[in-house]
Amino acid sequence: MLGLRLWIRRRIAVLLFMAMVFEVAGQTAGKTDSGAHPVSVAQLIASTKEYDGKTLTIQGEAIGDVMTRGDHAWVNILGDGVAIGVWMTDKQASQIHELGRYGSTGDILQVSGIFHRACPDHGGEADIHATTVQVLHQGSKNAIGIKPGRLAAGLGLCVSGGLLALFWRRRERKNMSS
């Protein structure tokens, strides 16, 4: 019973992988032109050839840093576990207040723009050159609280480790001198 379940789970994993790489491409090719329906970033990356050069819309969390380069900036947008670089103007980037990092959820952006499979201006990267950038939800800081039990366990282990290490070094010193 358990074996079967495990087998099924493996099959599902493999199928998911295959779907990601090969099949999504065919199924989604028709939807690309409508700018209104956002395309999932994972889908986009799995089928770069189909979306190449098309105008489309994505949604996702702005993560990490706004990297300013002259009058433009790079912002990486994370959607469905995959992040993609968006090339936008300084002004568009200035709407972003919260970036996704440890302890914070970044602003959720809706970006419309042209997708390049291998952008000739940016060293062949798969990127999006934004035409419009809109903040859908403000991000937020999430306080990550300390777990008191964990700290106590840690300190206890440190004390026991320290004591054992002390005994060990003392024994070695005795062995050395004898």
């Binding site: 994370l78 993609i84 291998a118 000739p120 440190c158 054992l164 060990w168």
Partner: protein, 505 residues
Amino acid sequence: MSKNNSLKDMRIILYYTGEILVGVALLNIIPLLTALIEGDAASAADFTVSLGATLTLGAGLALLGTGGTRAGWKHGMVTVAFSWLVAMIVAAIPHWLSGHFGSYLDCVFDVMSGFTTTGLTLVQDLDHVSDSLNMWRHLLTFVGGQGIVVLALAIFTGEGGGGYDFYVGEGKDERLFPSVLHTAKAIWRISLLYLVLGTFVMWIVCISIGLNAGRGFLHALWIFMSSWSTGGFAPMSQSILYYHSRLFELVTFIFFVIGSFNFALHAAVLKGEWKELLRNLETMSFGTTMSLLSFFTAWGLVKFHVYPNLVALISKGFYQLASAHTTTGFMTIYPQQFVTEWGDIAILAVIIAMMFGGSACSTAGGFKGLRVGILFKALIQDTKRLLRPSSSIVIQKYHYHGERSLGEQQVRSAALVVLMYMAIFAIGALAGCMAGYPFLLSVFESASATGNVGLTVGISSPSMPAFLKIVYIFNMWAGRLEFMAILASAGFVASLFKGDRHARA
């Protein structure tokens, strides 16, 4: 072998394993400090647990065992193989506590990938991981590059002989100095020199591409650690693609190429013998294979019109190839793009590059340039033998820190190691196919794990079957330690059982 003897052997192995674990425990202080400085109490607590647990286990094992100078070849080999496994399990504690991994197996996979400087990862939502955990992951990869046993040797071993067996067991066989302590220290001196220099340069680059000074410094440190140890971990899920900068790619290229050089070569060049760079068998071998594979990669990419211009070809094609050949694993494309865009010729060239790998006695993996060079010279020698009268003796020369003549023993051991690599690579590829992945992708991912590279076509993910994770962990471990320590350990375990039977009879 009597039961008494094997007990003695085990106590020696336990002692040195404990010593190495204490070294790993002390490493926890660096991420712990990172968390404290940033006021991240939750992560600080996690690292306190990890520090305490590792120290308790390490000191406990050392107390159970017996040290002293009785450690011989067998003990060195078994200790290295065993301590890598134990270190893998305890160093995964912070990973598990962070909540960014699906299972403890995933954590252990990530640690082994770090220690072996591979770079495959099963982390989830990497973009929201704490700085202290990233510090830990990159630190493990940096220390793993130099060798955790080399670290323990540098910390604990006193002056005097012995200890080389440990060092050799970890896949390093150049004696930079007659004493192992000097050698271990020299390796660390070279790495730390470059760490300071490299982090500074990367920091400037990070700031120039738009990161702020604080984050820029951390990213600079991590990316340098990862480049130098040809590791391939990166703090963001997009790897090098995150930075969107050709300058960033160039600087990482320089550091991972230098990182893939032999420590004996570094030692010679930093002493002023820079001409060795242009004559050394290993750098020549690396340059030759890299040029040939560049040709095929370029051919494949240009033929299928994958990239629009030369800059793109180099930033994507050549960078990926160099990352593969030095066994680094930094990526400037998405894993899926290998599959959907690259075409078979370029992928095959990258797979071959991953198998060849960097230099012996370096942080890199793969067959190693030295072995490729030696086997090539042996081929020339045998061809000459065929063409000359049977009575004449053919001496084959090569340059490797001075002129040397090729010996049969060298060829034999090089051929054996290459054969072993091919064997576990085949096992890994077979396992991938059995899990249901397509042939070429299974081959690619297996070459990446076995050669300690870290490039991925997407197979290595939290959702892959558990048995495949275990196979890859084994391949990374065996590939990094270059089999000797593992074969010796297998022999040791077998002898334990045999000893038992004899004792009973």
